[in-house]
């Protein structure tokens, strides 16, 4: 335990326990938070982080334990009391109304329902002064729905501050943000801590915890596994504390690249009348992984849609197994043995309300194995799902249970399983580990490397630089819908990749007729953290 040296703690959670039926979500957890401190609550999915914060905020009643703010005990299960005591919460999924303006959103719930008029101008002054104080610039009259996710999060933070929060809790604040937005968020949080606010942020990402927090509390299996000052620990130790045993991401052996299975030449894709991909060139070879890096929103979605069979090119040429093709459609891709891991596993990869076996066979339902004359062969489907569950270590479900019940990592294993089970010739993996915890990341990486070893050509589209460096044999950067020339993984270092992602392609990275002259995209320098 580390004694808090800065006088009395602002917030004290003492001996909190909470059980849901047979599951112990929190087991005798005690945490203290000092004034001006930025504390990270680190743990894998299911370690009890969110439950603990929900207890603090009064969404749940603890079975045992107390919550004190400035030494005064908060009544259990009363969010109002928590707000009044100065506790603010920024949820992972924002509780904002997209059809209202920023100012209206911030004011919602702060005024009595029956007051004849709303004190808009005073509220506006207060909002602007808070925004200025912490450098949280937003237009109070902008409609919330028009803002980017990062800006919406700023509004959520402003809303908490507007309610005079002195203790701010952020639940996985970077889960929805791009790297740049995340860095900006942590700058803001640091500034808030400097000005005397106390903050707790929940995370399972080692990098950001190390970079941003003063102190780190690691939760594992509902208990405090360890507590460390950020200066006195390192990523490897935290990873081990978080998972309970040493986790090492699998490492890549040199590739034995085979024949070219897919080639795109000067390919252009327009979606909704906008050119998302512009004259891109790339190829995929057996037993080799091509990694596409880039800052979010530079055309990755279009690329995965194109390769997933959901968008057709508007210009250029494609060759699949040497044959020219005009468009890839889902049915042909599945028939040709091309595996697809979609960007968004909840929206595209699985249908949560359907059973695991239905999700396992849906894309192949027309194949004779799973249906005949339009009649579904349920037992074959369930047997197939059982095999995947077994071989790909999908935990928390049976073939007939609903897919929604699986955790993100297990859902991803199911999706991997249905694709890799057939030893695909090509695997399109879009953001395959986004939002997964360290253990699941290692499992997914092992599977992808394994497929490559067996001869699958892998296209890896990822915003996680470490992932691309760890898995890919060749790397191309995507910037404003254009692709750089490939570099070999051996030549890649974070600095060079950072330059590639910024669109700063020197002549060696690109043939002479360089069409890129519009400079770096967006604002700031996309920096690999």
């Amino acid at each position: 335990m580390i004694a808090d040296t800065t006088a009395a703690p602002v917030l004290e959670l003492a001996h909190i326990s909470k059980r849901f039926g047979p599951i112990v979500a929190n087991d005798d957890i005690s945490i203290a938070l000092g004034r001006g401190e930025l504390l990270a609550l680190l743990g894998e999915n299911g370690a009890g982080k969110t439950t603990l914060m929900s207890i603090l905020f009064g969404h749940y009643t603890p079975d045992e334990g107390t919550v004190r703010v400035d030494g005064v005990e908060l009544p259990h299960g009363r969010p109002r009391a928590a707000i009044k005591a100065g506790v603010g919460m920024v949820h992972q999924h924002f509780s904002l109304a997209p059809n209202l303006t920023v100012l209206e959103n911030v004011m919602t719930g702060t005024e009595p329902l029956w007051s004849p008029r709303s004190r808009t101008s005073a509220a506006r002054r207060k909002l602007l002064s808070i925004a200025e104080r912490f450098g949280l610039g937003v237009d109070p009259d902008a409609r919330l729905g028009d803002l980017s996710v990062g800006e919406q999060q700023r509004v959520e933070i402003l809303k908490a501050l507007y309610n005079d929060a002195r203790i701010l809790i952020l639940d996985e604040p970077t889960a929805v943000l791009t790297n740049i937005e995340a860095e900006r968020l942590f700058t803001t949080l640091r500034e808030m801590a400097r000005q005397g606010l106390s903050l707790i942020f929940i995370s399972h990402k080692l990098d950001e915890v190390m970079a941003a927090a003063d102190r780190i509390v690691v939760l594992r299996g509902g208990r405090v596994a360890a507590e460390r000052r950020a200066a006195e620990t390192n990523k490897a130790e935290l990873a081990e504390l978080m998972v309970g045993h040493r986790v090492t991401r699998p490492t890549r052996e040199p590739a034995k690249a085979g024949a070219t299975v897919f080639q795109a030449s000067r390919l252009t894709v327009s979606i909704g009348g906008v050119e998302r991909l512009k004259e891109i060139d790339f190829f995929l070879r057996e037993g080799e992984t091509l990694g596409i890096i880039g800052v979010s929103g530079n055309g990755q979605a279009a690329l995965s849609q194109l390769m997933g069979g959901l968008a057709a090119p508007t210009g250029g040429e494609m060759r699949l197994f040497g044959e020219p093709v005009s468009a890839l459609d889902v049915h042909d891709l599945v028939e040709a043995g091309i595996g697809r891991i979609p960007e968004d596993r909840h929206r595209q990869g699985a249908i949560g309300e359907m059973t695991i076996w239905e999700n396992a066979v849906l894309e192949r339902i027309r194949q004779p194995l799973f249906s005949r004359r339009g009649i579904v062969n349920r037992s074959a489907g369930q047997a197939f799902a059982a095999t995947i569950i077994e071989e790909f270590d999908v935990r928390g479900g049976t073939p007939t249970s609903r897919t929604r019940l699986l955790s993100g990592g297990n859902m991803q294993k199911l999706i991997l399983g249905r694709n890799l089970y057939r030893r695909p010739k090509i695997l399109i993996a879009a953001q395959p580990t986004r939002g997964l915890d360290e253990g699941a990341v290692a499992a997914v990486h092992a599977r992808i490397l394994d497929a490559r070893r067996q001869g699958t050509a892998v296209l890896l589209i990822s915003e996680d630089l470490d992932e691309v460096i760890g898995l890919a044999d060749r790397i191309q950067a995507i910037v404003k819908g254009r692709l750089s020339a490939p570099i070999a993984a051996e030549d890649a270092d974070p600095r060079r990749l950072g330059l590639m992602m910024s669109g700063d392609w020197t002549s060696s990275d690109r043939t002479p007729n360089d069409r890129i002259s519009d400079g770096p995209p967006g604002e700031g320098h996309p920096h690999a953290s």
Partner: protein, 363 residues
């Protein structure tokens, strides 16, 4: 439909709704019974206020629905169209296609049968004519449902609005036809269609009653729809399309084609309901052929939790309440609106009961 978004001060909500993964058998059995008890208790207040003996009134609901041969057959006769319109709604809602237009499809199916069955095809023998008229009615319903679907697929127009508004168009069209080209010259000026030929009328299931083989047709339809949804590729794909269109497209489900099939099935069932009602009960079309069967079908589907087999039971329940409550108000001389309120209350409490077999409240 989960409890996350309510208009109340969100921060003070202590309850959350959570989907049950396991439904205890006791709950499944008990909750509908409790729902009926609660509805009757509430209706009892009104019955007492109207000055009638409450317990006797309850008895009258039962005897009104089942007490006599006539009552029982009448209940089943009423359940028949409800079953088909209930199926129409259930099939569409499963695929998240909001067909609120079963009423219009019902009427279009009915007028189609009246038009063909009274003149054009009336020369055919019964065993050929009857299936032909069924088909014609179903096609009329399908055609009407394809309009809102086309608008949705082509222009993203919300089909709730368009299918609902088409009900009025359809009913006015029927009204025009039975006051115009299809008007029965022998009806002393009443706006009603020419009757269908006698051999196009459906055989009775029970002599000297209104109960006809349409009931069997409806039950068979429910079984077929159940098999279609649970055992076929179409069923799997339409469910996927309804639950998560984006995920369905990613898995290669042809979204538009699936919705077209669903719309045809849904509209077809509603059209068939209209055809059967004409051929089984009245023999001709008037604008009061349906006391809102199309709309009641939505309730039936909700009561059945969109399960085709559940629709059979839900249609019986709804018909029982309709017929029984009517009988009660007639027998005791209490205002008919009390009967209407009783029906509405029982449907509401039943929906609540079903909701709680699927969700639980969590603090």
């Amino acid at each position: 439909m989960t409890g996350s978004a309510t208009g109340l001060p969100a921060k003070d909500i202590l309850m959350r709704l959570e989907r049950r993964e396991h439904r205890p058998l006791l709950l499944v059995v008990l909750s509908p019974i409790l729902a009926v008890v609660a509805a009757l208790a509430l209706a009892g207040l009104l019955i007492a206020a109207a000055g009638a003996p409450v317990l006797e009134a309850y008895g009258r609901i039962l005897t009104g629905a089942f007490g006599t041969r006539l009552a029982a057959t009448e209940t089943l006769t009423r359940a028949t169209p409800l079953m088909l319109t209930g199926l129409a709604a259930a099939v569409a809602f499963r695929a998240r296609l909001w067909n609120i237009g079963a009423e219009g499809q019902f009427y279009l199916g009915a007028i189609m049968v009246a038009a063909l069955g009274s003149t054009a095809l009336s020369g055919l023998p019964g065993p050929v004519l009857i299936p032909l008229l069924f088909t014609a009615g179903a096609i009329a319903g399908m055609a009407l449902m394809l309009v809102p679907l086309w608008l949705r697929l082509r222009f993203s127009v919300d089909e709730v609005v368009t299918s609902l508004l088409l009900n009025f168009v359809a009913v006015l069209f029927v009204s025009m036809m039975i006051d115009g080209p299809l008007k029965d010259p022998l009806a002393f000026g009443w706006p009603q269609s020419m009757p269908v030929a006698d051999h196009a009328l459906l055989p009775k299931l029970i002599e000297r009653s209104r109960l006809h083989i349409g009931l069997a047709v409806a039950i068979v339809a429910a079984l077929l729809v159940y098999l279609l949804q649970s055992r076929t590729v179409f069923g799997l794909q339409s469910r996927a399309a309804g639950l998560n269109p984006e995920g369905a497209v990613f898995a290669g489900v042809p979204l538009a084609r699936t919705l077209v099939k669903v719309a045809c099935l849904s509209g077809g069932l509603a059209g068939l309901a209209g055809a059967i009602e004409v051929m089984g009960v009245k023999g001709y079309v008037t604008t009061d052929l349906s006391p809102g069967y199309g709309y009641a079908g939505i309730i039936v589907a909700m009561l059945a939790n969109l399960n085709p087999l559940g629709v059979i039971a839900a249609a019986f329940f709804t018909a029982t309440m309709f017929v029984g409550a009517d009988g009660m108000s007639r027998a005791l001389g209490i205002p008919t609106y009390i009967a209407d309120v009783t029906v509405a209350l029982s449907l509401l409490t039943m929906l609540i009961a079903i909701f709680f077999t699927q969700y639980r409240i969590r603090r």
